[in-house]
Amino acid sequence: MGGEALWMWGAATCVKLLLVPSYRSTDFEVHRHWLALTSSLPVSRWYVDASSPWTLDYPPLFALFELLLALPASLLDPAIVRLRHGRDYSAPSAVLFLRLSAAAADLLLLLAASRLSSSSSSSPRRGAPTLTLALVLWSPALLLVDHIHFQYNGYLLGILLLSLAFLEEGSDLAGGVAFAVLICSKHLFLVAAPVYFVYLLRHYCAGGFGKAVGRFFIMGSAVGAVFAAAFGPFVYYGQMRQVFSRLFPFGRGLCHAYWAPNFWVFYIVLDKLLAFLLAKLGFNIQTPKASFTGGLVGDSTPFAVLPQVTPVTTFLLVLLAMSPCLVKAFLKPQPKNIIRWVTYACTCGFMFGWHVHEKASLHITIPLGVIAMNSSDDASHFFLVSIVSCYSMFPLLFEAQEYPIKVLLLLIYSILMWVGFSSDFSLGTVVDQTKEKGSSGGSTKNGLIGWTGKSYLFGLVAVELYGQLFHPYIFGSKLPFLPLMLVSFYCAIGMMYSWAWQLLQIVKFT
């Protein structure tokens, strides 16, 4: 690991330290409760206990991670890990410990990112490993979600990147095991499993029939061992049904309380529009009772006009969207494309999945950051999608105190990308030598992102200004969800573009 990587991680850690007193969501109490839950109850009670509304809904390896954290926590302040009396415990010691643990867990991200940025064995790209590292380690979205809102995405994404690094280096077995560990830590990554399966089947289990079967067996048993270690105890206790009901709460609606900027936003908006128009035309449209903005909605998703969407529909849609990539991975399983495919799979899950959180776009932007320096097109795309994804998380932090922080973080990151990409691909107006190099640059005329991209990003500013200034001025405290819907809708356009762009890249170039 280079000194530069450590330097960057250190700088990011300083910012994380300064974020300790900032706002934290209920997720903080969720994780504190899980510390208490895993350390004070036997394994057999982990997925049964309901002493708090924040029941354990992550897979067992994440629970194990919490158990490991509980050990130092109980040394520092035993009150942190008290199951009943520790409820909503937020003494400075607890805040400091949990915040520091999130910052320390990011070491895994550092490890994986520095490994990925330096490993150029498979491809001659990543001319600027420093910038690549900065794109991953200084991701503003990660800071917002992990170190203000409070979650542990950093180390999970670290495992994902580590697994991708293994695959790129050609150590498929290690990559497969790492991915299995990842799924047993956060099952949301299951969406990348088809790509992994197809890729490993064709790349690892290649060669003659006997060798292929042997390798298939090796991979199967290695991955199976991880799953057995994670879920074995619950099979033993006969709790698998209970565990699954916790992990996959399909009772929740299609969309989260705040709509993630994905395909379903368009679907809902179209439904509302049609309902409105048809009602105007005199049709008798029954408006469903549960509104989308209400948070936890029941089993059926309330659409007035358009067909209802079930989890199975979304599942099939995700697979369908992913299929070109699976075909490509099947035909030409090359390590240099694996990051692109996995990212695309995550994008499909984000765009068409069931009950997607806006935070899940981290699963897209972090691996994308690794390949952002491959070409100027990749850089332009990443520039846009990272800004959109980070902006779509702004509503997570709604207090006045954090407002300048999230804006500054995004601004700084954007300028950093602008300066870095421009000088690296000699695109922008920053470097004076553009005139000489201009002819070779290609898209020099429009700078980094062209006029459509620019106007789209300016639209983002307009949306923000509307939500912050004009909406309260026009409507007062009425229609509080309108600005949020606008943010979702507008960001969904950018995410949809990103999805289509990635699909096009995969079809064309891999």
């Binding site: 000194g3 530069e4 330097w7 250190g10 700088a11 850690t13 300083c14 910012v15 330290l17 300064l18 974020l19 300790v20 007193p21 900032s22 400091l96 001319g127 600027a128 420093t130 910038l131 900065a134 006045a400 105190q401 300048p404 922080i405 500054l408 973080l409 601004l411 700084i412 300028i415 950093l416 602008w418 300066v419 870095g420 000088s423 690296d424 000699s426 920053v430 470097v431 004076d432 030598q433």
Partner: protein, 529 residues
């Protein structure tokens, strides 16, 4: 000097060759771009601002500690007074204005600033500045708003001043053998000025408005360097009128400007012009108090609180450090202590003053600012630990000439405020901001050995105090001092910092005198061209 000159010459020739584009991307100070690129300047400024916003999340001095609270309450109280009372009553004890409770003891410009901020607070949270009733008022929204009064002051005063300085610095020192031809190192200097951990922690953690007076001073320094002497006089007078401590710099300004005037054709006219500007600025700021001598004296007596003793707490200056052996307060009367401190202070800044009158130079001016403010810090009457911010400002401006000195100084200056910041429960911010400063200071792409300072060339001399200071950091937080000496650790911190400060100021005084000949020669040569 000849040696360093050849060194810089080779440096410039190497850096003028085109760099591979890959290495020049991230760290602005490694870039070979010939101009101060706007996006990178913006990047550095925004990051420095972000750090300030992040520090402002933390607690402030005296948070939740009645009945006296701390500097936060003092500032809030001044806003309350400045908003509801007429200027004539601001410095006068009355039923509405109890001077024993955080009475206003800064010059009128500070009070005007309090009034401006009070108007803002009154428009949004009127109960936070209600006369009398708001004493000790604390709430989350009002904290946020108060924090933003400092943040905005910083953004309006200190940031433009720093940018102005760096812009002027680049023009004045490029090619003078002090600075590389490319803008990269100047960007690093900007980061060093803006990310000074002491200033950030005191203003946005502890809660003060040093950014205004220091920003005005910085603007004045930049104006001096760019030959805008009238603007410099006006700006520096404003700085003095915001915090009288800015007078620490007065000998340097006075001697440099006087020295320059004496070199011109009509020295008397030049000096008169400056004098008129200074007096006019003073008159403008003091307007409400100029109608009677009594009112004027009343304000003036508030600004010089001699009754508070020669030093406060454990400040790492001469009086406090030596009082362990010589009980100054017991041996001498206040009157004789006043004279004694005045005498030693003058003795302290006299060499640097004489040097600048004799042969004023731009670089000598920066050293002189450091030397004169340091002399005030070490020897003047009624110094508190936050006053170290004043010598720190010119030290930061010398960041490219004396990088090691600046890094060293920042570390010990911050350490000298460690007990204060611990009381404010800002240890976490202390660690983070210091680490951040260290990281930027040692950023990997920064060209090594740009200019090896003569300060502390022998590393082993540094290691021992550094080792002690690190141990003391831990000991101070973890262990209890022996009952017989409750302030043992504070005293040790003070001694350690004092020893470093003294060796530092001796070095910079010698430096100011030794650099004078060659540099003023090169200045004169330049003028002829």
């Amino acid at each position: 000097m000849a040696k360093t000159k050849t060194k810089t010459k080779t440096k410039t020739t190497t850096s003028s060759s085109p760099d591979p584009p890959t290495s020049s991307s991230l760290f602005p100070w490694s870039s070979s771009s010939p101009s101060l690129a706007t996006p990178t300047v913006l990047l550095i400024s925004l990051f420095a601002f972000l750090v300030r916003v992040l520090v402002s999340l933390g607690p402030y001095s005296g948070e939740g500690t009645p009945p006296k609270y701390g500097d936060y309450e003092a500032q809030r109280h001044w806003m309350e007074i400045a908003l509801h009372l007429p200027p004539s009553d601001w410095y006068r004890n009355s039923s509405a204005n109890d001077l024993s409770y955080w009475g206003l003891d800064y010059p009128p410009l500070s009070a005007y600033q309090s009034r401006a901020h009070a108007l803002l607070l009154n428009a949004t949270i009127p109960e936070s500045v209600a006369l009398g009733a708001s004493r000790g008022f604390e709430s989350k929204p009002s904290k946020l708003l108060m924090r933003w009064t400092v943040l905005s002051s910083d953004l309006i005063v200190f940031f433009p001043a720093a940018l102005y300085f760096v812009w002027v610095y680049r023009r004045v020192f490029v090619g003078g053998g002090v600075c590389d031809r490319d803008g990269g190192s100047v960007l690093w200097l900007l980061a060093m000025i803006l990310l000074n951990p002491c200033l950030i922690l005191i203003d946005h953690g502890h809660f003060q408005y040093n950014c205004i007076s220091l920003g005005l001073t910085l603007g004045a320094i930049a104006a001096v360097l760019s030959q805008n002497e009238l603007a410099a006089s006006a700006l520096f007078t404003l700085a003095i009128n915001h915090k009288q401590m800015s007078l620490y710099f007065a000998p340097a300004f006075f001697s440099h400007l006087l020295g320059k005037c004496l070199k011109r054709r009509f020295p008397v006219i030049e000096v008169t012009k400056l004098g008129v500007v200074v007096l006019a600025t003073f008159a403008l700021v003091w307007w409400p108090y100029l109608h009677s001598l009594e009112a004027f004296i009343e304000v003036l007596s508030r600004l010089a609180p001699f009754e508070r003793g020669i030093f406060e707490d454990y400040v790492a200056n001469f009086w406090c450090s030596t009082s362990v052996f010589i009980k100054w307060k017991r041996l001498f009367s206040v009157q004789s202590l006043k004279l004694l401190s005045l005498f030693t202070t003058i003795l302290g800044f006299l060499p640097s003053l004489v040097q600048q009158v004799k042969s004023p130079s731009n670089l000598g001016f920066l050293y002189s600012l450091l030397n004169s403010s340091f002399s005030f810090f070490l020897f003047s009457y009624q110094v508190h630990e936050k006053s170290i911010l004043l010598p720190l400002l010119p030290a930061s401006l010398l960041g490219l000439q004396e990088p090691q000195l600046y890094g060293w100084f920042v570390y010990y200056a911050l350490f000298s405020m460690y007990p204060l910041l611990r009381r404010d429960r800002l240890i976490l911010q202390y660690i983070a901001v210091l680490a951040l400063f260290g990281l930027i200071f040692h950023s990997p792409d920064r060209s090594r050995g740009t200019k090896t300072s003569r300060f502390y060339t022998r590393k082993e001399l540094l290691a021992l105090p550094l080792f002690f200071s690190i141990i003391l950091h831990f000991v101070y937080v973890i262990t209890q001092p022996p009952e017989k000496y409750p302030f043992l650790f504070e005293a040790m911190i003070m001694f350690l910092c004092f020893s470093q400060f003294v060796s530092l100021v001796m070095y910079t005084n010698i430096r100011q005198w030794t650099l004078s000949e060659s540099f003023s020669l090169s200045m004169r040569a330049k003028k002829h061209i």
